[in-house]
Assembly symmetry: C2
Homo-oligomer: 332 residues x 2
DNA sequence: CTGTTAGCGCCTTCAC
DNA sequence: GTGAAGGCGCTAACAG
């Protein structure tokens, strides 16, 4: 492995000059620049990143900490993040917390040890509650999850509003007994629940909500339970794509059709939602945009550490499909 | 930020002793060990990874290079990889190539610059064709894609066999004119195509295959085209989850039901495949296991650089569902 | 068992 | 415009 002094020797200059052309500095004769470039080429020299990082104290690395990359929302976000990172010559380290604050803490510590340029974090509930930018030695931008009280750069959906609009739409369709299954472990689930409650209250309707771990299986189990009860709800709503999938599974197992037996809706416009049954009405998130906005915020924060805190709130978009078409002659 | 000499000072020992307890070395009195530990605790000292890496020449980092993390197969693989990496105190750098050999080359160069401990690579077709372990300064394990001729650690599905078994199953169901849409840009798509051709030939049937970029949209377009032709095939098969999704979309657009109008099958047991229509027959890949096996191979290779090359071939599992139930009275 | 010391490969003043 | 030299923070000989 060639190193800088080999290049210097071959180009018959000092290591300082090599370093200068590497850094793209001015103050180097075009002639020496060429000689250095040739030497670099000839030796297939590549600077040692470990040495460079030790010296320069910067890593051009960003950490991406999410609950589970298999959640399609985070998959898409991660892709946007990696795309932008690539364009900015930065690498991304991927971390899954499984909503476990300890694991999250471990990774946050790791980010400090890695001396990353910045972190994109989808915090667990406890981490969000006590989040302070000043607790970290690196810039952090929150994604998907953020409280009203949190002072931090963040990119989120208008969760409460989106849920409110989705529920209001269902109510306008004629649904009354609307059950809401939402993720228990995240701010997102809570905020969407809030929107649900507000919408129902606005129309004088009783709520029937249930918090579950945000997994397909938990949602399926909860829905199965709910369905088994004597009085079926008019409609079922899942607060994210995973939960919605669980609901569909439960309905299928129970041999219940939508919208014939009950209405169905949810969040996240995943590819399959338009394919199952008559299509499922969803509140779509601009997922890739969310990821892109997040890393843009982060890059700006890295460039300007003391710029004012910013929050980007993206709007969900209702996609009406067959699953929420109220059936005539249904019980009220 | 405290550093090792601060710890040494506070514990009243030399930096060497601190380094020793950090490394978990024996040859340190329990007493000094305690003093060092206390000092570390008191100062909240954490070793600087850049310095450590420069000195030790190891990074405990692995690169994961795939075509697109949004492909559910790679999503799942990446999760397995990250899990195992976490357990082994290693970090993973995520890279998407989009099947672009240049981008792939860029990342492979980056891996060298990063001096990673190892790389998990799902190579593009050209990269696979010229792949030589000796071209890399770090261990590489191939995942999902591997030729017969390639000499490298690898974990793959028994692609040709799985396709053969899937097609043979369809033929036994009574299907004859089976069209196969497969990914053009990967070894996997080619091998599955091979299995398809073999199965059809074995039964004296004519093939009708089409290679497309492995995206939902490309598959949808190709299938739409195919469907528009005067003579509809008996059955449609997609060589992976993305392609299968495209097929379903095309059928839906054309208002064609499965299995009523034609049979349908594919690869990858994605959650939605059991939810759309009567469920779709698929060849399931043990995705998480594949990821796990891959990183295990890599970790072993890192530990024993000169151990013999190993290839792990996992078997696909047929999951029969409603989409491939031959309809009575159909044309032959 | 413990301490001293010489680098790991690079960047960057500081002189010239 | 160029070169010499001193670290960045840590590990691992080598002495003692």
């Amino acid at each position: 492995m060639a190193q800088i002094k080999d290049v210097a020797k071959r180009a018959e200059v000092s290591v300082a000059s090599v370093s200068r052309v590497l850094a793209g500095h001015t103050g180097v004769t075009e002639a020496t620049r060429q000689r250095v470039l040739e030497a670099i080429e000839a030796l297939d020299y590549r600077p040692d990143l470990a040495a460079r990082r030790l010296r320069s104290r910067r890593t051009d690395t960003i950490g991406l900490i999410v609950s589970d990359i298999r959640n399609p929302f985070f998959t898409e976000v991660s892709r946007a993040v990696e795309d932008m990172a690539y364009q900015n010559r930065m690498r991304v380290i991927l971390c899954n917390t499984d909503e476990d604050p300890d694991k999250e803490g471990f990774y946050l510590d790791l980010m400090r040890d890695e001396n990353v340029s910045g972190v994109i974090l989808s915090p667990t509930l406890p981490a969000l509650a006590r989040f302070r930018m000043s607790d970290y030695s690196f810039p952090v931008v929150l994604v998907d999850r953020c409280d009203r009280e949190t002072t931090a750069d963040a990119v989120v959906l208008d969760n409460a509003d989106s849920a409110y609009r989705l529920i209001t739409y269902l109510i306008k369709q004629g649904y009354r007994r609307i059950a809401f299954i939402h993720g228990a472990a995240s701010a997102t689930g809570r905020q969407r629940h809030e929107g649900y409650v507000t919408a129902m209250a606005t129309h004088g309707l009783e709520t029937q909500a249930q918090a579950v771990p945000a997994t397909v299986e938990a949602a399926r189990a909860a829905a199965s339970e709910l369905i088994r009860e004597s009085s079926l709800p008019d409609a079922l709503v899942g607060s994210n794509g995973l939960i919605l999938l669980g609901l569909v599974k439960a309905l299928r197992e129970a041999n219940l059709q939508f919208p014939e037996h009950l209405g169905l809706a949810g969040f996240d416009d995943l590819p399959w939602t338009q394919l199952v049954g008559p299509g499922i009405t969803v509140m779509a998130q601009p997922t890739y945009d969310i990821g892109q906005a997040t890393i843009e915020l982060l890059l700006q924060r890295i460039a300007h550490p003391s710029q004012p805190v910013r929050r980007v709130v993206l709007r969900g978009e209702l996609r009406e499909r067959g699953s929420s078409v109220r059936q005539k002659g249904s019980a009220n």
